[in-house]
């Protein structure tokens, strides 16, 4: 069992964009949004990482610290473009484990 200090949250994301988006583009957009809203200090607290990215189905799974969940959610909701093209990233589900996330969001 993990100690409480390193609890994590997994977010299932749905990407909406007319153009194709690579995993680097997606992560750059998320990092840019976090830095714009909360600065580099805030971004350093998120422990954000991309767990999975499915290009065909346009979904992604990212992991963050549970303490920074609201920051990450607000930042993801504020994304309006990726690589200069209009885009939106919707949070479909949040869970404490990957297993539960797959079960709940039926990815």
């Amino acid at each position: 069992m993990l100690p409480k200090g390193v609890r994590r949250r997994y977010l299932a994301l749905k990407l909406v964009s007319d153009s194709s988006v690579s995993r680097e583009d997606l992560m750059n957009a998320i990092w840019d949004a976090i830095i714009q809203l909360f600065g580099e200090y805030g971004a350093s607290q998120t422990n954000l990482s991309l767990i999975r990215y499915n290009h065909e189905k346009d979904y992604a799974i990212v992991r963050c610290s549970h303490k920074a969940l609201e920051m990450v959610k607000a930042s993801i909701a504020s994304i309006t473009e990726i690589n200069g093209k209009p885009a939106a990233v919707h949070i479909k589900r949040v869970s404490g484990t990957l297993k539960a996330l797959f079960k709940k969001s039926q990815l």
Binding site: A77, T80, A88
Partner: protein
């Protein structure tokens, strides 16, 4: 289970494809009720067509009109003419006199302020007191928080923090709405609740402003617009010969 409402979608009414896309997107994002800004001269046929599109995706359509009067006299003129035709009346307050008049008029449902001209956001303690007595709600549009960048967004967040604190203190209901003009600016209710955290609104309070508060506002107005309504607490239950005294 919460029933979410987005009381402000702003598609171009002439663009039927865009209207359909935004309506289906609302349903996909988990809303059960939406309000679309309609022009004051819209025909009943067009409203019925929109209602059909919404009912196909199990959405409840609320008719809404937005006024941006220059003077309080103009506001009163609009209210007299259009109050009984629309379920939600929103007033875009561009001057202090209009803001004060709108806040004290019980026919106004939502008070909206400019997102970029912070000096024209007149929602202070006095405005909140008037709005509280007249049962008007403060509308906070979330689209500017999404598309603004840099200092305009910083100023807006700072101002919204003050306004939501005043509203909470005085007891003015707050309604969060999207204000989206296309589907890329639309977000789900929980995403808006996370964004409301930027101006220190608790996520449970934010979810209430997207569900219970708009639903009660619409229910109250639908009751008032129903044919049997006479006055607050009085409505016609039955009519006919059986009700007449011998």
């Amino acid at each position: 289970m919460r029933r979410f409402a987005d009381l402000h979608l702003r598609p171009s009414i002439e663009d039927r494809d865009q209207v359909e896309r935004m309506i289906s997107k609302s349903s996909e994002l988990g809303y059960q009720m939406i309000a679309i800004s309609l022009p004051p001269n819209i025909t009943q046929t067009k409203i019925s067509r929109l209602q059909e599109i919404c009912s196909d995706v199990n959405l409840d359509l609320v008719t809404r009109v937005d006024f941006s009067p220059k003077t309080s006299k103009e506001l009163l003129h609009y209210l007299r003419r259009l109050r009984r035709r629309f379920e939600i009346i929103s007033v875009f307050c561009d001057s202090k006199s209009v803001a004060r008049q709108a806040a004290k008029d019980r026919r106004v449902d939502l008070l909206t302020f400019p997102a970029t001209k912070i000096y024209k956001r007149f929602f202070d303690h006095a405005e909140a007191e008037l709005a509280s007595n007249a049962l008007s709600a403060l509308e906070i549009e979330m689209a500017p928080l999404i598309f603004l960048r840099g200092s305009p967004r910083i100023r807006l967040i700072s101002r919204l923090r003050k306004e939501s604190a005043v509203a909470e203190k005085v007891g003015v209901p707050v309604v969060l709405s999207s204000g989206a003009t296309d589907e890329y600016l639309m977000r789900g209710p929980r995403e808006y609740a996370a964004l409301a955290g930027l101006f220190d609104m608790d996520s449970r309070v934010a979810l209430r402003t997207l569900s219970e508060i708009p639903h009660s506002l619409v229910a109250r107005n639908r009751g008032k617009l129903s044919p049997g309504y006479v006055a607050p607490g009085i409505r016609v239950v039955r009519e006919g010969d059986c009700c007449r005294r011998a």
